[in-house]
Symmetry: C2
Subunit: 221 residues, 2 copies
DNA sequence: TAGGATCCAGCTTTGGATCCTT
DNA sequence: AAGGATCCAAAGCTGGATCCTA
């Protein structure tokens, strides 16, 4: 029996906090999603498990996890020392209109405007448990940096083409390949003036950013 | 013929700037200090060469390189990308009175109060040349951080003993082993209440600090 | 393809070890 | 021992590659 969507932020946060301390194994049993098998084969499963446990409805559509609240859910795995060590996927990039994208009105901004961070703590015995969830909105200073990264990245895509853009660009946001097999079309002309295809990309938050804001929500790392 | 000590800071800085662009090989020929042989066997030679070229007098005594000016000389080797990649030795630590040392009046503070940084640039062909020298005094903000590091490090030495102190402590300053063979006595009681000896230690500036202040003398990395 | 992410080889960083001269 | 520092193996970081489901 899966929960209905939360009616407001308070209910969402209450639910998330009620999960604190519970093991992934017990959540997995309650919500019917197996985490057995090699780690490499369960990528993304923990995120889906939390979606079910909290009543998220976004599914695979390009929307928020809680559309009525405009809140995005992000599960953040913590290492044995209690801090994030991996980057966090935000959303795919639309290459077709990179040259006219702006921060205001962007999908990145919309998703990061209100985030429920749910840490997943690694225990010494190898098990994992839900940590303390928190709702976050970027401070003005934080949003300025994110906006700067966004526009620098898409500016380079528009100017020099995506193939020359490295994941090194961007202080907190970066653009990286997304998915192993997919190919998407772009409008960038190839050598013969034709369209070329490229591997899909996504925006990611660097680990040093999530590390900092979990420690201090207003941090400017 | 070695130069006399400079009479003031202006003369010192003029001399250092006059060396800009000169190769270590030509300086070595002029001042009679060979840099031939394995790199491992010439540690410290470049520093001594610059001391001679600029008229430093400190020698092996525990004083400034230019005692009359109270200026410390530090040669900073730059990698092929033009930035420092190694830490910089400041001075040895006196273990006998670690528990009553304070930043004001400390030897670390005295040495870092006025520093002539002389970069040594690595060229693509393997040769090295003198870069742009600069005189530096820490800003108030920078000195606050250095003082904090200093007191945290010596506080731990006084509290827990030096053997448990890691080089990880300190944002810009760190304490590390100094010299391969030496042993010094400390006042810290051993397991049997007796005195113990330990490997000598020194204060070092982390590479990220020298990297930052060479790019911007007022930086707070 | 969108969403949910983690894996891991290779590069970078660095803490501890070491070298020379006076 | 003080001064002058650099070496280098191992840990840390991260950019690019990859995995699963609807």
């Amino acid at each position: 029996m899966l929960p209905a969507p939360p009616k407001d932020e308070a209910e969402l946060l209450d639910r998330a906090r009620a999960l604190r301390g519970q093991s992934l194994e017990s959540l997995s049993a309650r919500f019917g999603l197996s985490l057995r098998g090699a780690a490499v084969a369960t990528k993304g499963k923990v995120g889906e498990l939390l979606e079910r446990a909290l009543g998220a409805t976004g599914g695979s559509a390009a929307t928020w996890d809680f559309p009525a609240l405009r809140v995005e859910l992000k599960t953040i795995p913590l290492g044995t020392r209690g801090v994030p060590s991996e980057s966090t996927f935000v959303c795919s990039v639309s290459l077709l209109d990179a040259d006219r994208a702006e921060w205001d009105g962007s999908w990145v901004r919309a998703k990061l405007a209100r985030v429920l961070w749910v840490p997943v703590e690694a225990r010494a015995d190898g098990s994992r448990a839900i940590g303390e969830a928190r709702l976050w909105t970027p401070t003005t200073e934080q949003e300025d940096v994110l906006a700067g990264d966004f526009e620098e990245i898409l500016g380079r895509v528009g100017a020099g083409g995506i193939e020359g853009l490295s994941a090194r660009v961007g202080r907190w946001l970066q653009l990286r390949p997304k998915a192993a097999h997919g190919r998407v079309r772009t409008d960038a002309p190839g050598q013969d003036g034709d369209r070329v295809s490229t591997v899909p990309r996504g925006f990611y938050l660097r680990a040093r950013f999530t590390r900092a804001i979990l420690a201090d929500p207003g941090a400017v790392p």
